[in-house]
């Protein structure tokens, strides 16, 4: 309750629903609640950008509205183009919230770590290729999803394995099965990219390469034991759109200098 008092939910969530909203994440800029849209059996993720007391109220209202709106616009654009993102259900930019589809599943980060978790800590024996097939397939799906995103002219701005969900497929929802099967389930599902709070529209190789670089670095620090598999992500990315190969060439430059562009020129 103390937390509730400290972080009051948006007004829309104070109205009754079949189940109380639950706070899923709390970031610097906003919060995500799990709630419902229209009907009890239509789960939804509500993203809320609360007012910032340290900003002038007029500026704050304007920024909040612009940011929620721009995120929704990016989601619509991606969705129309067939990029796997959650569709927007409802929004109130002035009130700072947006409802979208609740993706049933786990973040890619959790899936990969669950997969890796069962491996012996020190045993450095390289895994058999066949044994690793489900994980490699996930890498390919990540590359395809990011490629689809970039093809539409959107750059995510914060690509990590936490900002990708594995949407559970119906046939995988049943629990049980052998050890190998349940392990494969950890990395099964369709990759859905989420959190477009920092997304921008850009077709530039540079911006796309930085997007990939951020993912690469995040991947290396979150899943050091799977780092060598990142090449598979890039390999499948390469075939998703015409300019992808030149983005990968640019990526090599970005690796040498880091995320920030040269301050010269």
């Amino acid at each position: 309750m103390a937390a509730d008092a400290q972080f009051p939910p948006p007004k829309v969530l104070t109205y009754p629903a079949s189940a109380p909203p639950s706070l899923i994440t709390q970031g610097a800029e906003g919060r995500v609640y799990k709630t419902t849209h229209l009907l009890p059996d239509r789960p939804s993720a509500l993203k809320y950008r609360p007012p910032k007391p340290y900003r002038h109220p007029i500026l704050d209202a304007r920024l909040t509205k612009a940011r929620i709106s721009s995120e929704a616009k990016v989601l619509e654009r991606c969705w129309r183009e067939g990029v796997p993102v959650p569709p927007v259900y409802a929004m109130d930019p002035a009130a700072g919230w947006m409802m979208m589809e609740w993706i049933e599943g786990i973040p890619v980060r959790v899936g990969i770590n669950e997969w890796l978790g069962e491996r012996p800590e020190d045993g450095e024996e390289p895994a058999e290729a066949a044994e690793e097939a489900p994980l490699i397939d996930l890498m390919k799906r990540i590359g395809t999803a990011v490629g689809a995103l970039h093809r539409t002219g959107v750059v995510h701005g914060d690509l990590t394995t936490s900002n990708m969900m594995l949407r559970q497929r119906k046939e995988d929802q049943v629990n049980g099965g052998t050890g190998a099967e349940s392990k494969a389930k950890a990395v099964a599902g369709d990759v859905v990219i989420i959190d477009f709070g920092l997304a921008t529209q850009s077709m530039a190789d540079e911006d796309r390469a930085v997007d990939l670089y951020v993912l690469e670095r995040a991947f290396a620090s979150t899943h050091p034991r799977a780092e060598r598999l990142f090449a598979t992500v890039l390999e499948s990315y390469k075939h998703t759109f015409k300019k992808a190969p030149s983005v990968l060439i640019k990526l090599e430059d970005v690796r040498l200098r880091g995320r920030k562009r040269s301050m010269l020129g």
């Binding site: 007004k11 829309v12 969530l13 109205y15 009754p16 629903a17 079949s18 709630t35 419902t36 849209h37 229209l38 009907l39 009890p40 239509r42 709106s69 929704a72 616009k73 989601l75 619509e76 969705w79 129309r80 183009e81 067939g82 569709p87 927007v88 259900y89 409802a90 929004m91 109130d92 930019p93 002035a94 009130a95 947006m98």
Partner: protein, 206 residues
């Protein structure tokens, strides 16, 4: 009774939403005239059912309008016109007349009609349950007396029989959408079109 009480998430219980569906309506002219003359007994959202894709599509529009009402930010005279304007996804509220022409009731054109009624909390203290039952019966009696048509269930199965797809595709910009064009499964395409229409309404004006 074919007047359904619709329960929506995040709507205070003091607001009641009722909806009904009439097929083969023969007196659209009369109903249209009541709207034009602002007859206060006809405070309904009349929606041409040919522009409705599904229940979710309709309910999304109703919810958006109620949310705007709760915010105290109506851009049109009342919550019922707000529903019609919401389902017509454009930024320009000066096009209210256009919204009515496309999505509302049109003399000579509207054959199948969805009616939505939002009852707002009474200003004075009253026995709420009694009032609700009374309201639901009274609304239904009034509709039955004034709408000449065949009551039908407000279900996806019924609605989908009358959806005018060329019109819906045009107004929700569903033509040439890669996400839809790649689908071969009819049901999946219907579901995705519904999502896109709901998204279009949510993003209206951006």
């Amino acid at each position: 009774m074919a007047l359904e009480k619709v329960e929506l998430e995040h709507v205070p219980p003091t607001y009641q939403v009722y909806a009904a569906f009439f097929r083969n309506v023969s007196n659209a002219e009369f109903l249209h005239a009541q709207l034009l003359s602002r007859n206060s007994e006809f405070e309904y959202a009349f929606i041409d059912a040919s522009s409705v894709i599904s229940r979710l599509h309709l309910l999304s529009a109703v919810y958006s309008a109620v949310n705007v009402l709760l915010d105290g930010a109506l851009r049109t005279p009342n919550v019922h016109s707000e529903i019609v304007v919401t389902i017509f996804n454009t930024a320009n509220i000066l096009q209210i007349a256009d919204a009515y022409r496309r999505w509302g009731i049109t003399p000579g054109k509207t054959k199948d009609l969805v009616v939505v009624k939002v009852v707002q909390p009474p200003s004075g203290p009253q026995d709420e349950t009694q009032t609700q039952i009374h309201a639901q019966n009274a609304i239904w009696d009034h509709l039955r007396q004034n709408v000449q048509g065949t009551p039908a269930a407000l279900t996806d199965a019924e609605l989908s029989q009358v959806t005018d797809w060329p019109k819906v595709r045009k107004y929700y910009r569903l033509n040439g959408v890669p996400a839809l064009d790649r689908l071969t499964d009819e049901k999946e395409r219907w579901k995705q079109s519904e999502s896109l229409a709901i998204m279009g309404m949510a993003l209206r004006g951006l």
